[in-house]
C-alpha cells in the first residue's frame, strides 16, 4: 500500500480510579464504573466490532485499575444488579409516560439500550477484558496501558523507586491479563519529567505520549513540529497530541456542545419525585444519576426533548466538518514535510458515550468515511514507527496535559498537604523493601509487605488530588488517601515490630485486592 501523507492516530485512554468497596453492601462510587461500562465501554466495543472488516486501527489505553475492576467478580455481580435496576426503572418510565408519546419513545429507547447492554455484557461472560482481547487479536485495536494506579509520576519522583514501581507493577499486571507486554505507554495525565524514558525503556516500552509543548520545547527544535515523533537518546519515541484538532472535540465549544445533542446533566434522578425514585436513588434519599436523560442541550427554557434522529444528522455534519479540518491540516503539513506525518488525537475514552452520548457514533462514522481517503489513514503510532524509523533525536520538556501544561492541577493549595504523607510513605516502603531483601521473611511478613505496597500504590493515584482541586468528590478523595495511608502505616508498623494480625491482613487483602501477583521481591530498580 502506498504511503499516505499522514497517519491519523486516535488514542483513547480508558481509566477510572479503583472504586471497589466490599466493606459495604452497596457503595455509590462504584457506579462510576457502571456508568462507564454502560455508556462508553460497551458502546465503543459495539462500534469496533461492527467495523472489524474496515481498514483502520485505534489505540486504546486501559489503565491497570480499570482492568482490575473489569475483571473483578464482585463488581461484575454488582453491575448486573445496577443494570437490572436501570431496566426496571426504564420499564416504569414507559408506563409513567404512557400519555406522552415523545417521552415514551425515549423511555423505550433507554429500555432497549439497557437490555442491549445486559445482553452484550453477558456475551462476554461479564468480563469486558475478553472483548478487548478479541478486538486486539482482530487487529482493530492497539492496546496500551499506564502506571499501576494512574499516579501522576512527576510528583512522586522524589525517591529512587516510587515511579519505577508504578511503571513495572502496572505493566506486569497488564501482561498477566493480556499475555503480552505493550510497546506503547500512556503517561497518566501526560505527565512527563526528564529521565522517565529510561525507566520506560527498561520495561520494554518503545513509545509514549505527551502534550504538544513537550515536543515544541524539547531539547532539539522539532523539524516537523508535532507531526513527527522524536526519539529520546535511549531510543524511546515520543508523540505529542494535536491540541487544535483535539479542541474541536474536547473544547468547551467543541462538537459535543451542539444544542441537539443529549444533555448529560438533566437526569430523571434529579428531576422526579423521590418517592417515585425510591429504590433507584440512594438509601438516604440522595439523588443520583440514573442514566435516563430526556433533554437536548438546547438553550431553550424548558429544554426540548431529545430527538435521536436529529442528533444523528448532527453527527454526520460534525464528521464532515472534522474530515474537512483534517484535510486542511494534512495539506498544510505536506507543504513543509516530505515524510509521512503523524497526527495524534488523544482523549479520555469516557468522553465517548458517557459525556458525549453520540460520541461512539461520531467515531464510527469518522472511521467509515475516511477508510478510503487518499491523504490519510487511521492507524496506530506503532504502525507509524514501523514505517518511519528515522527520527530526530531529542529530549522532551517536562510537561502534562493539565491546565497550564504542567503540574499545577495536581499540586496547589487544595491538595499540597497530601504530598508530605505520600512521600514519607514512599520512603518507608523503599527502605522496608531494602531491609527485607536478602533475608528470610515469614509468609505473613511477605504478604504484609506486598499489601503495604498495594496500599501505597492506591494512595498515589492522580485521581485524588485531581478531585480535591476540582472540588468534586473531594471528601471521598480525602477519605481514600487517608484510608490507604492508614492501611500502609498499620502494615508497615506491623512488619517492623513483628506484630501482624493475620485477620487484619486478610481483610486488607480482600478490600484492596488489586495486583494479586505483586511480589515486592521482584521489584529491582534499574
Amino acid at each position: 500500500m502506498n504511503n499516505k501523507s499522514a497517519i491519523l492516530s486516535i488514542v483513547l485512554h480508558a481509566h477510572l480510579p479503583y472504586v471497589r468497596h466490599p466493606e459495604y453492601e452497596h457503595f455509590h462510587e462504584e457506579s462510576w464504573l457502571f456508568e462507564a461500562i454502560s455508556e462508553s465501554y460497551i458502546p465503543l466495543i459495539d462500534v469496533l466490532e461492527r467495523l472489524q472488516t474496515s481498514r483502520f486501527k485505534l489505540s486504546l489505553s486501559l489503565s491497570p485499575t480499570l482492568i482490575a475492576m473489569l475483571k473483578d467478580e464482585l463488581l461484575q455481580q454488582r453491575y448486573r444488579i445496577y443494570l437490572n435496576q436501570r431496566i426496571s426503572l426504564a420499564e416504569k418510565e414507559i408506563w409513567r409516560n404512557r400519555n406522552n408519546k415523545s417521552l415514551q419513545k425515549l423511555s423505550r429507547l433507554y429500555y432497549r439500550f439497557f437490555q442491549h447492554t445486559a445482553q452484550r455484557f453477558e456475551h462476554y461472560q461479564g468480563n469486558l477484558i475478553n472483548a478487548f482481547k478479541q478486538l486486539q487479536q482482530n487487529n482493530v485495536l492497539e492496546l496500551l496501558t499506564s502506571s499501576a494506579t494512574h499516579s501522576y509520576l512527576p510528583l512522586i519522583n522524589v525517591n529512587d523507586t516510587a515511579v519505577y514501581n508504578q511503571i513495572k507493577i502496572g505493566l506486569d499486571y497488564f501482561e498477566s491479563v493480556f499475555n503480552f507486554r505493550p510497546k506503547g505507554y500512556w503517561l497518566p495525565e501526560c505527565g512527563y519529567f526528564q529521565g522517565l524514558e529510561n525507566l520506560l525503556a527498561h520495561e520494554g516500552i518503545e513509545y509514549f505520549y505527551t502534550d504538544a509543548h513537550a515536543l515544541r520545547e524539547a531539547s532539539c527544535t522539532p523539524k516537523h513540529d508535532i507531526y513527527a515523533a522524536i526519539k529520546c537518546e535511549n531510543g524511546v519515541n515520543v508523540f505529542a497530541r494535536d491540541p487544535q484538532l483535539c479542541e474541536l472535540i474536547w473544547g468547551g465549544e467543541g462538537y459535543p456542545a451542539h444544542p441537539v445533542y443529549r444533555e448529560f446533566h438533566h437526569d430523571i434522578g434529579f428531576e422526579l419525585d423521590r418517592d417515585y425514585l425510591n429504590g433507584y436513588i440512594l438509601e438516604d434519599q440522595s439523588r443520583v444519576f440514573t442514566g435516563i436523560k430526556y433533554h437536548q442541550i438546547s438553550e431553550s427554557d424548558p429544554k426540548q426533548h431529545y430527538e435521536p434522529r436529529q442528533a444523528m444528522r448532527q453527527v454526520q455534519h460534525d464528521v464532515n466538518d472534522f474530515i474537512h479540518q483534517l484535510e486542511q491540516k494534512t495539506e498544510q503539513i505536506k507543504q513543509t514535510m516530505d515524510d509521512q506525518a503523524i497526527i495524534t488525537l488523544a482523549f479520555d475514552a469516557e468522553l465517548f458515550g458517557h459525556w458525549w452520548f453520540e460520541g461512539p457514533q461520531w467515531l464510527e462514522q469518522l472511521i467509515l468515511q475516511t477508510e478510503n481517503h487518499t491523504a490519510f489513514e487511521i492507524n496506530s503510532n506503532q504502525h507509524y514507527l514501523n514505517k518511519n524509523p528515522a527520527l530526530q533525536t531529542g529530549t522532551p520538556a517536562p510537561s502534562s496535559w493539565g491546565k497550564a501544561g504542567y503540574s499545577d492541577y495536581w499540586l496547589n493549595q487544595e491538595n499540597d498537604w497530601i504530598y508530605p504523607f505520600l512521600h514519607k510513605a514512599g520512603d518507608e516502603m523503599e527502605k522496608l523493601c531494602k531491609d527485607l531483601t536478602g533475608i528470610t521473611v515469614t509468609d505473613l511478613q511477605h504478604r504484609a509487605t506486598n499489601q503495604a505496597m498495594r496500599s501505597l500504590l492506591l494512595a498515589q493515584a492522580s485521581d485524588w488530588p485531581f478531585m480535591m482541586k476540582s472540588g468534586k468528590n473531594s471528601q471521598y478523595a480525602e477519605k481514600r488517601i487517608s484510608d490507604h495511608l492508614a492501611r500502609f502505616n498499620y502494615l508497615h508498623e506491623g512488619i517492623r515490630q513483628n506484630k501482624l494480625d493475620e485477620n487484619y491482613l486478610l481483610a486488607l487483602e480482600l478490600m484492596d485486592n488489586i495486583f494479586p501477583e505483586l511480589d515486592f521481591k521482584q521489584l529491582k530498580q534499574p
Binding site: 462510576w32 468522553l351 517536562p398 499540586l411 514519607k424 468528590n473 471528601q475 485477620n503
Partner: protein
C-alpha cells in the same frame, strides 16, 4: 503463598470472638498482635468495615517527630514546591546548647548545559517552622538546570558550624523557563548571586513559609457522594 486468599468463610462464632478481642484490645490503645488459628476465612462486609474503621482511627497518617525529610517538586516553569520536616529532637537539643541556632532552607541550581557543573544558590532564607512547606518563585532566566533543596542549620552568632542536615531529590525545571524569559548565562547569574540572595525574601510565594497542615481525615465513610465521577472529561480546564 503470598497471593490473596478469597475462598474462605469465617464462622459466626469466630466473628464474635474477634469482636470481643477487638473491643478489648483496640479501645483506647493501639492493637497488639494476636493470632487466630483459623484465619483463612472470608470476612463479612460488616467485619471488613469494622477493620477498616479501626485502622483509620489508630493509624491516621502522621510524620514522626524524628523525621528528617525534604522534598522538592516542580510545579511549572516559574515555581517549585518544597516541603520539609526537621527532626524535632535534634533541633531542641541543638537549641539547648546553642540558643542562637538558625534553620535555613536553600535551593541551588546546577547548570546542565555547562560541563563545569557550575552551581548557584537560587534561594535561601531562614525558616521559622521545622515542619512546613513553601512555594518558591524561580528567578527568570535560569538556564537548563537541575535544582536541589537542602536544610541547613548553623549558629547565628558565629555563623559557623554550618551543617547540612538533609538534601532533597534533584528536580529538573522545564526548559520553557529559558525560552519565555531573557536568557542569561549561568556565570552572569553567579555574579549577581549576592544581590539575588539579598532579595530572596521577595521571591517567596505567597509570603513566609507556612506550617504544613495536619492530615485531615474526613467523614467516617458512611457518607455517599451523589455526583457522577467527573475527571474533567470534556472540560476545557483539563487541557
Amino acid at each position: 503463598m503470598t497471593g490473596i486468599s478469597t475462598q474462605t468463610r469465617l464462622p459466626n462464632k469466630e466473628i464474635k470472638k474477634i469482636n470481643r478481642t477487638i473491643n478489648r484490645v483496640y479501645a483506647p490503645v493501639k492493637p497488639v498482635s494476636y493470632i487466630l488459628s483459623d484465619h483463612q476465612q472470608k470476612l463479612s462486609s460488616q467485619k471488613l468495615k469494622e477493620i477498616s474503621d479501626n485502622i483509620r482511627r489508630y493509624y491516621a497518617p502522621t510524620i514522626p517527630l524524628e523525621t528528617n525529610q525534604i522534598k522538592l517538586m516542580s510545579i511549572n516553569p516559574g515555581q517549585i514546591y518544597v516541603h520539609w520536616h526537621f527532626n524535632q529532637f535534634q533541633l531542641e537539643n541543638r537549641i539547648r546548647n546553642q540558643p542562637a541556632t538558625v534553620l535555613h532552607l536553600k535551593v541551588t541550581a546546577t547548570d546542565l548545559t555547562s560541563e563545569k557543573e557550575d552551581q548557584i544558590t537560587l534561594y535561601q532564607s531562614s525558616i521559622s517552622h521545622p515542619q512546613a512547606s513553601q512555594t518558591i518563585q524561580i528567578p527568570k532566566g535560569i538556564p537548563h538546570s537541575q535544582l536541589e533543596a537542602s536544610l541547613e542549620i548553623y549558629s547565628a552568632e558565629t555563623e559557623t558550624d554550618q551543617e547540612t542536615i538533609v538534601k532533597s531529590n534533584p528536580t529538573i525545571i522545564p526548559l520553557v523557563n529559558q525560552l519565555e524569559h531573557d536568557v542569561t548565562t549561568f556565570s552572569d547569574l553567579k555574579s549577581k548571586q549576592d544581590s539575588a540572595l539579598e532579595t530572596s525574601a521577595q521571591l517567596m510565594y505567597p509570603d513566609t513559609d507556612s506550617a504544613r497542615p495536619q492530615f485531615k481525615p474526613s467523614s467516617d465513610g458512611s457518607i455517599h457522594f451523589s455526583a457522577s465521577y467527573d475527571s474533567g472529561y470534556g472540560k476545557s480546564d483539563r487541557k
